[in-house]
Amino acid sequence: MPAGQFVAIVGRSGCGKSTLLRLIAGLDAPSSGSVSLDGEPVAGIGDRTRMLFQDARLLPWKSALDNVRVASGGTDRAQAQRALEQVGLGDRADEWPGVLSGGQRQRVALARALGGQPGLLLLDEPLGALDALTRIEMQQLIERLWREQGFTAVLVTHDVSEAVALADRVILIEEGRIGLDLDIRLDRPREHDSSFAHYERTILDRILERDAEADRRREQVYTI
């Protein structure tokens, strides 16, 4: 996986995509094989690795600003404020996380992750719990920040359309193995046009085909 690439990992639930992300993060240790980061095997959490979880995991007893600060070892207020402004929350810096909406909390978490200039950003279905409109907004935000800052991004998602919209490369995991490795050659920002739909359908068909194989009683024909 080259540096600066945006990779999306898709697959059915329980296929091991979150486990893969936790292995890259260094949160779990592999039972066999190895994960390398910049040529070094991953041991513990990397210095420039940041992770965005499905729930924002903000400290509810700290203001949005302090949540950003505490994560980067107490950086100065101005720097944290800038990180919040990047995600469009400059005016909510002093709010408790408890009064922010789900999307706003996730944006604070994003500001926190980006505050320390990450080299690798791991996203564990960070948009899974958001409503459709907030999702699209967040996708655009993540894409914009990724293009500005040039970090490597790995996004785990169960939403194929989200994967195609954001990633340079989509990897499908089936029962713990790579089932499909697809480069997405579309211009950014991406439109939901026919070639977008083509990529989306290729991946979806592959996922659903496996399902049909497993369940032979259900005979269905998928056409592209």
Binding site: T49, M51, L58, W61, K62, V70
Partner: protein, 274 residues
Amino acid sequence: MPAAILVAWQLLGHYGAVSSRTLPTPLKVAEAGIQLARTGELLRYIWSSTQRALLGFLIGGGIGFALGLLNGLSHSANRLLDSTIQMVRNVPHLALIPLVILWFGIGETAKVFLVVLGVFFPIYLNTLHGIRSIDPGLLEMARVYKIRGAALYRHVVLPGALASILVGVRYALGLMWLTLIVSETISANSGIGYMAMNAREFMRLDIVVLAILLYAALGKLSDLAAKALEERLLQWNPNYAVDRKGGGRRGRRAEAGGIRSEAADPAGGKVVRG
């Protein structure tokens, strides 16, 4: 409501419905209070009781907090100590009075010791519970962001356990006064309990009632202090948020509703009694 009860009490006493040998009227009690206050006795008694209470609370609460912290953070310490502490907890601490008198006599040490025992358990249990119920997701987040050591306690562990610890403090304050009353009633040469027992000898019912009212007031006062502490330290928590306009404690869950319930009660909504 308390005012209405006072008026009713005064009227009943005044018109002889309740004999002054059973219950003196509030005015009589107030008179006794003023009289004792003039000689300086009242203040001295209140002061010596408060001193005992606070000393016992600080020692017992401190030990309880430290042990709760230790057992909450270290699994092996917990296995070593917790079951012993739970066993001792099941002995009502007031049942130890004869033993305590034999050990320490009837001086100050005995009373402070009993208060220490009384406040230790609620603070210990709630600290332990508070640390145990910290969201593991937050601890994992702290790992990713390399928040460790002292910073981990200051930013994550202690604030996370605070709601529960404060419940322990509130409960311990109640037990503190209860224990003190009992131990002062048994033996003392100063304090509110002493004042009450002394008054009993002389059949001064007004002073006895005054002592009871004093305990009620002191208990209420410490409860108010604990509540103020809660509102100040837990203002981030929607469950404790004070609605300034309405003046009441109203959860703001509706506003806070979003992704999951990460801002919800970190203490898991459970109260552990000592």
